[in-house]
């Protein structure tokens, strides 16, 4: 049986890779996609989600979420993802807006989680604003969540600042709320997403794999500018590969305290301990990951 998941996302180029991989996985059942402001503004991330589903001809419901962090002002990453959020890629068809639900992301997350037959896995791959509001506004939902597998944070280092990863930096208060719950969290942070960077050659290979491969590669080639050509991190994709190929990853338990103010705002202070609720991905089989990357979009 497929594992039911909900993706909370700010597409974003690596979000597109992750969502696509999830939608075509035979192990995952994407119940809902919720959007959040992050890489670009909420109107763009929502449009990108709808555009992608229309392109992929997948009828997954989408709910629009928060455009602003809980307390901080929004800071986007359009220098990496382009003004639209998907580089200079142009989706040809008009987006199928009938996929857009009436309720906002928090209301629809609640509905989807509370009505699910089995506990749901949340896959947040943007700032954690929607998820934090969900847990505070509808705390009963926490009972029906199996696990959170998220992209965000780092045991060491950062990309938005020297000590903070972008998704956490963008809304550190929301991150603090999520990490402070007792829910099981798998943290695919920079520790593993940088390690599993793919090569420019891998992207070329994907580009030849049909119109989906071409779309993914086209976007990544835009985003490559921010990386070395020997290691292009497709951050968000790690969450989906963790779900479908957990054997590729090594995790270690920790408690994670999020810094919400000052020079280190967004830093995920990671105290490794057997009692921690966070399973930090600290290592991965890089070769197997790259092989997965170059085959995942091939047959679809």
């Amino acid at each position: 049986m497929k594992r039911p998941i909900i993706i909370d996302t700010d597409p974003g180029i690596d979000d597109v890779a992750a969502i696509t991989a999830a939608l075509f996985s035979d192990k995952l059942d994407v119940k809902l996609i919720t959007t959040v402001g992050g890489n670009v503004g909420i109107d763009n991330t929502t449009k990108n989600a709808l555009d992608l589903l229309t392109f992929l001809e997948k009828d997954i419901p989408v709910a629009k979420g928060c455009g602003e962090p809980l307390i901080n002002k929004i800071k986007t990453a359009s220098q990496v993802h382009g003004d639209s959020g998907v580089g200079n890629y142009q989706f040809e068809k008009e987006p199928n807006t009938s996929l857009l639900l009436k309720g906002n992301a928090i209301v629809e997350l609640r509905k989807a989680i509370m009505s699910a037959e089995e506990p749901v896995t949340l896959v947040p791959i943007g700032p954690l604003t929607n998820i934090a509001l969900l847990f505070k506004t509808f705390p009963e939902t926490k009972e029906n969540i199996k696990e959170i597998v998220l992209m965000g944070g780092a045991a060491e280092g950062g990309n938005a600042t020297p000590v903070a990863e972008f998704n956490i930096y963008a809304d550190p208060h929301a991150a603090k709320i999520v990490f402070d719950t007792s829910i099981n969290i798998v943290m695919c942070g920079l520790d593993v997403t940088r390690l599993t960077g793919v090569a420019a050659d891998d992207v070329e290979k994907v580009k030849t794999q049909g119109k989906i491969g071409e779309m993914i590669a086209h976007m990544i080639q835009f985003y490559e500018r921010a990386y070395s050509k020997y290691s292009i991190a497709i951050h968000d994709l790690c969450t989906i590969l963790y779900l479908t190929r957990p054997e590729l990853f090594k995790t270690k338990r920790a408690n994670v305290n999020v810094v919400t103010e000052g020079e280190a705002s967004g830093c995920t202070v990671t105290h490794f301990t057997e009692e921690g609720n966070v399973h930090v991905c600290i290592d991965a089989d890089v070769e197997a990951f790259r092989k997965a990357f170059t085959s995942i979009f091939a047959g679809i």
Copy 2:
């Protein structure tokens, strides 16, 4: 026509005085009462709200809200309000639990605000957790709010700490979210609630004014212990008197920045400026206030 208001409250002895005054005012129409953890835990504040309405024979819907601040751990003030929150007062009847709505405070606030024919006035007299979550989860509600008249903060001084008032100290992140909106806020803070303290003699007078006066005075006499007998602050009552007798108060516009961390957490840094969205109550007609206090519960 009566002014439609919603009271968000953590009863709490002064909350009881405020709610009672509001319910019997011919100028106010209480549409909804929402509860929040604060003076005591959420289960007690909710029971106290229902007990009070049952005692007063008023059929106002109640919705239960958040028991925990957004990010901080809960700290109650049961040393002031007693373990139950209403001192050692015992309500005799069983609470009329049919008044309790199914939706939580945030959902019911949204319904009440969005369905109101005219913009509603919010009257938060506890920590601002529910209101902050409302604005972040359902930002559309901000459009149908006329004004927020709240008890909390201080331009100078504090009671939870030397520089922080209890309601703001209890959930400074929520307070920051609320003060950072552009909604008109009337801040009845310690500046005015301490100034308008009543005397022990005033309370004795109220005690003779029927069973409602007796109930109010009984509770206040418990709570007097925390004050000088010449000036017992009935903090939350100031909001209702501001709404019914605005001529008793003098306000000054300001922007208010809430400190969320460190030694001064909960401090409301008040920058007076004509452009501010906050109308800080800085002075009051104390004699008229005391006269109002000793007459408000008399005829009811």
Copy 3:
């Protein structure tokens, strides 16, 4: 016998009033004047100290201290004190630079304190940079200090920000170091310096009292612009009046925690307790203070 004191100062108009009052008091023996950056830069505050002593024909040694706070960047108050620090007053004679000691303020403070026959009273009326460095670099000096009588801080309110007084705001880390010692500190903060504001009429009276009165009044009339004409705070003067006329003041013991970062930086969080090392001036005989002000510069 006269009480030996050392004044650490950033003249500054009210510093001039305080230093002059101290030099002509028959109760005080000014052993040393040390300068610090504050109201204006260190070169100006040092020149002003020398100019004043030359004008008053007093041979008191002066040592030049720190121009920069411990950690923060310097912020002056030249909008209040004028670019030179003494309004638009012009001292006519060249300053007697022979009064300037070779050692810096910290070295000379140490010498003066360690060589004093009886414990010395420190009177800091500027940012506490020099004093903090003294205590950390030469901790043995703390043993020969009788008391610190300082101008700075506030139990409630602020002037540099709504919650911070200028001297503390200017170097909060230094203030924290000083307040965290176990030395007896008398804090003449805004609580009492605002209360004891003099009237414009009082200043006119002083202006007729010889060349010294004329000098003091001339400066204060420049500085009046920042105040109401009914209450012009001569902040630093309070320390000298506290030393010469302690009966005019009421104090209350407290521990004072200084906020060093964020929105409330420079706030002196004042926890009143009988065990506190800080004696906060909370009240004063205002009429007697004004009378003192109008007579102190008369006979000299």
Copy 4:
């Protein structure tokens, strides 16, 4: 000609290795050793410095410095270095206390620096309290410092906390003062000190190298408990090897902002930039380093 250096130190086991290496280097001329509280209290670190010099029969002047950080309370690392600071090693002779100067570390640092014929290199291998006080109390000394080569901080990671290295964590305010100067700083942080960890076998080899090797190895074997036997970091030794064998290290320029409060206190936020005043050691020739370690104490 030998390069004049001053070592500021909190011995500490790795301090002993570093000081010893410096004293026997034909490239370095150790002018002064100043002590500071850190690994253990100031009385122990000073005794350890004297004990070591007595043992090594080296007549280097020692000045005792600060026992307490600028603002924080002291936190030692005696769990790593033992209660005495040198593990369970016992120096046999009484320490030669005639080496101890009368002035404190700050005063003696000033003297040594100002009287030096050529600009001096400072080598701080403990918390930066003395150095920060030197720069604030005697800012003129900054002009005669060639370079600071320090052990402390990390571009990524920590040991006192997940994001803070011990020397910086112990006195973050002092570290901020030092890093905020414009002096050239070589930062031998955890990035390189962990990389250059030696093996237990290397330590065994040193143990056979005369009484000095035996002493060094004896101590390190105590301290090994805190490390893997394949990589025992002799942190402070990196500074001396940087000075004597700079070709073994690779550096990259950065500005370093030190976090002084909150969860990430002591974190050295490292912004790599060509304009930075800090030369962060980011890589080293590990084999050459280990070879140096096993030969440095051999001939002496």
